[in-house]
Symmetry: D2
Subunit: 391 residues, 4 copies
């Protein structure tokens, strides 16, 4: 499969919001990181004209309308799956069986059964030397990676409290139209899978811990919306119909969780938090220190050192733009901030280096499955008035 | 009872942290607000020498060691009860029966039964023209009062999300000693009653709503601590004994709640959140706008107006120090901030004006009881793995 | 003069904004600090009725309409001068000659000649055991005092840059009326003396340095205003006359200064900075670290340690409310913020302790004179198109 | 010159920090904006091997070691000049004479004479239909562009105060080595030209005003540094020699300026402000409102509306990431921030659209010359103890 120069061919399936973001990362990763060359071979979408425009704009060599065509291409080494969640399992498993490395957008799948099948397929493929990751890209935000460093160095000690929320407001207006993201059969869930998957992954990743039990809840504030465009241009999109359509996913979800290591975690996600545009906020409180993060200021990390000099303690705002910070050496001088998009660039740099060096890749499908189990537990708990459940 | 000039005599029972704060408010209220004159008649505490020193410092005319002595004093109109919670009911009911106006520190009582008895006594006394309040002083922080104004004006509309937390860190160190606040028989509960009472009251007060059901949890991270000083100098304090003593209250508590009006609320309190010193934070997200508040910056309120000019929206940091802001006219020019202590000053200004003008006083014991029912529901839910309970 | 119990009698001359603030500090200082008892003997103002109301409200024993009456009172030990600046010299010198301790509001005087005479009188009086201070109260803000500690510990090293500004906006509206603060004969100058005196004092105090030369400027944006009330109720107040009156002081002033120690300082003050209500901001950049402060958040100090762990550096937000912080031990538990008014309380606590213990008091009149020389240099430079001048 | 498809060929001269940033912008502009296709033809640098590596990494078709070779290339339409400032004039004038469009990094030139010659050449070329811009890229930061919109809409009214500073700290350590940026013959000046050029341009651009006179100063804190690598990989770089080399440029500079429109401006730049990594901060105070900006949080703009509802005013933090905000429609959903690099992307999108549509391009060389005149005035004033000068 590998080219003599180690270069790798990529095919991306999906060309909407995520297609734009992934395309940019594939286009730029080699300019900033020492990784094998990447060829953007093929962009796949069901609407030939639209995918053609996207490919021209984002810089892909060819297009296709049937995702199966990527399986036969010898010049495609990596399949990057950006479809709505209900298509993840079929495509990913087929691609793994065809010997491809696979990237799947989060969440891993819409159902636990699909996620389990995918994790099994990935395990088998990894044994054959293939790589499969689920794109929890926020792990690759420099400030988050720095948080992980601080935690792994023992700087905050045993964790007592985790507070994780991801608040947006794009549905707060009841007249906002339907899209595939609001239909259970396509999206699986609403804020829970879209936003909750991110924070659950970050909680598990940062703490290195697991959830013992949780009490969860979900809420749909606006249950019917005007039928609208698919709005997302993605594979699974479809036109609207009558004047009002039922929303079949959650607008908000939450959980209180007990971690095996003794900490407690509060999780909340919403698309109804006016003024919060991309408000993923994390707080971790440990025996020796604390950490706080806000995705709207993603170049910053706040760190409290409980063992610092008495009377000089407080939260330190670290501008995570120094060459010694994770991922930053590739970029600009101190203080020159980077954008949200480069969480993808970093994730792909990681993957490409892993492929070249034969290292296992993360976030693995197994990790994606662990997240999925937590999301499933939240749904089950919510269906029983918040009764305690285990992932 | 009233003096010819309308002046009122006060007796305070308790002289530690709260005694210091209340004394200051009684001493200063008349210098800033048009209220009846107040005479600080009597400071009561069990340790004659200590209460004598406190009275001299804080400016009380006399002292006593038995709280019952205040009941007989004709020159005492208001009894201000600052003891540990297990003494609230007995003293408050006796004082009400003796015809006194009563102020009780929050939480109203340690048990629901006590709170119910107190509310009944207050209702009877109010019918006789007496005033009884539980001191949820944060209602009187200007920024909180401004939040209430904005909500009552309809500026944020129907509330979808409430996020309320009160995070401190003074117990994060496992070697911090015991105090009466960590013994259930004196304090009733830990963070739940001490901190949770505040945020539950604020949620009910600001939303004007009630909790339909909730799922709650509690946790004690450090279960044994060095026997220490009472640390608080209060009536109920007593010296330690052996080297380690069992902590019988919670270090942290939380709940997810459904409001009758359709919103959901997330509550969390802790004494283990390193770097948060007095971190009472509120966020309310409504149909038309949002509000955020942090007690560590108590002169500020953040307000998001979803109906503002497109492209010019965002959270506005209102420095709540203008003469048109609630309570502020009494103080300084714009931008000259006031301190935490004046939440008490404002509460007493309110009470004194209410007494003079014959208006009902708030927060009433009935409101205190409502808070108590929520705290009790959290405890009951926590005892059943977070199963849904109703207050 | 001293009473057997060490108690001290105070007379205050002036009863408007500053009278209210000073009265509160005299009333409360003994409740929080171990200082000699203070008796508020006499409040002086030209309007007998108004001063009577103020005395009743603020808690003074008696009133007078002629400031000279305080000189003869044996029970007055401290004369607190709160009049407009043009009266400072006459009253202060007379009080010092009468053997009183003297507090003068800043700036020390309206003219350099007056300030020099006052400093000479203070030096003579100090030799006789009297105390004389000019009330640069911001030195006593805990965060500022902590900044001074950090600097004196060498934590920021040799200072390269000082940036000090004091921005308000109460004159930004051209229709705001005249007051004594806008007449040169009473106020001496506008923003320069009112706001500039504070930041010049803080620069000199914090750096421990002196200004070698400076280039300064001044500006009056609105040159005529509606005749208004004196607005300030102070001694020098007087009613307006015709419909428009000329503003004879500056609305804004600034300077760039070279410090003898090698640093440079940028100073700016204005009453025309919309949205800045009490925006005194300081930044000091040294060889080893930096400090930032904002009076609108006066309980916080930001500190950057250039010698901290690489990659973990940043500005630390210290919430200056811990018992180990300057002045804070007298107050509340961690995180319970105090208000602007207590800069006065602390200043008086310092003075009372100094009197009791026979320590020299600061800020001395000599320090007030040093500030005055800088203000005078700014005026002289401004009068010559910003040409370099020396204080 | 134009290709049939309107595509444009670019040659960049310089491949260090700015080469990396410009390359990225040329590579990505077409993926986000509707502009003519761009071909990255030629990257020029004196070190053949280094420029070869850079071209491979950043995606340029060819390389050259002599900048004159670009003049003859018919497939090069745009010459992008990223060399040290002393080479700007020669290359830019030659490229304009050869009929090329020209981009020059700021500042326009090292001397006023060079800048004047360049502006003359650009005027002549513009008359021939060529485009010439100086890359004041911060004009294209969305928050800055939004500030310009607000100002042009009259939202802040007549401007009274401008406060502009650009603070970095990369030279604060005296042991940091020499580089071409610290040699006057190559860099022209230090912080003044590097940082000051940006803020002077922003002041002129945002206010639409001109400077009438100013008082300026400059300072070099560390006058000798270890001879070091060129560190910058740029054309003008050269190895060091002896152990210490004299710094011949300023470490910091400042000015107080009078604007013709009646406002005053305070400017300060430094490379010695510990903890400020890329701290370009702007504040504009006008009759009706105010604006504040910080480049370290470049996706945010603070706006104060003095005509807003009384009691609800304050600085609004606008997260400038909405599709209606300038430039943002090309990017991501609300709240997904972009990085510093895209100020370049936007500048080039603007230029390419201007070329296609035959619109005049900005910032013009004439505007670059206006900035240069101000920098020159600051230098002249600084050389005369801050005496008033006119640009």
């Amino acid at each position: 499969m590998p080219a003599p120069d180690g270069s790798l061919g990529v095919a991306a399936i999906g060309y909407a919001f995520m297609g734009k973001a992934h395309s940019g990362a594939w286009r730029n990763v080699g300019a900033y990181f020492d990784v094998p060359p990447v060829h953007r071979r093929l962009l796949v979408g069901r609407d030939a004209e639209a995918v053609g425009r996207a490919a021209a704009r984002y810089g892909w060599d060819e297009t296709a309308t049937d995702w199966r065509s990527v399986l036969e291409r010898d010049d495609v080494d990596i399949v990057d799956i950006l479809t709505p969640g209900h298509l993840h399992a079929e495509i990913a498993i087929a691609a793994l069986e065809a010997g491809k490395h696979v990237v799947v957008e989060k969440p891993l799948a819409n159902t636990l059964a699909e996620a389990e099948a995918m994790a099994a397929a990935a395990a088998a493929a990894e044994a054959r030397g293939q790589h499969a990751i689920v794109n929890f890209n926020y792990r690759r935000v420099p400030a988050i990676a720095l948080a992980k460093e601080l935690i792994d160095e023992g700087r905050i000690g045993a964790i007592r409290h985790v507070r994780a929320s991801y608040l947006q407001d794009w549905l707060a207006d009841p007249s906002s139209p339907m899209s595939w993201r609001l239909r259970k059969e396509q999206a699986g869930s609403g804020a829970l899978g879209d936003l909750g998957a991110h924070i659950v992954d970050l909680v598990l990743h940062l703490t290195g811990d697991r959830i013992e039990s949780l009490n969860g809840g979900m809420r749909t504030f606006v249950t019917r919306r005007p039928a609208g465009e698919s709005g997302d241009g993605a594979l699974g999109g479809s036109g609207g119909g009558g004047p009002l359509e039922e929303v079949t996913v959650d607008d908000a979800a939450w959980a209180s969780a007990h971690l095996w290591g003794g900490g407690v975690a509060q999780l909340e996600v919403s698309r109804f938090a006016g003024g919060r545009k991309n408000g993923l906020r994390l707080e971790l409180y440990g025996e020796h220190g604390s950490i706080a993060f806000d995705l709207e200021r993603l170049n910053e990390l706040e760190y409290f050192d409980a063992r610092g000099d008495a009377g000089r303690q407080g939260f330190t705002r670290i501008l995570v733009t120094e060459s010694g910070h994770p991922w930053v050496n590739a970029w600009w001088p101190d203080g020159h901030i980077i954008g949200w998009e480069h969480s993808f660039t970093h994730q792909f740099a990681q993957l490409l280096g892993d492929i070249r060096d034969g290292r296992p890749s993360t976030p693995s499908f197994a990790e994606g499955l662990a997240v999925q189990r937590v999301l499933d537990a939240i749904e089950r708990s919510a269906a029983h008035d918040g009764a305690a459940t285990a992932p």
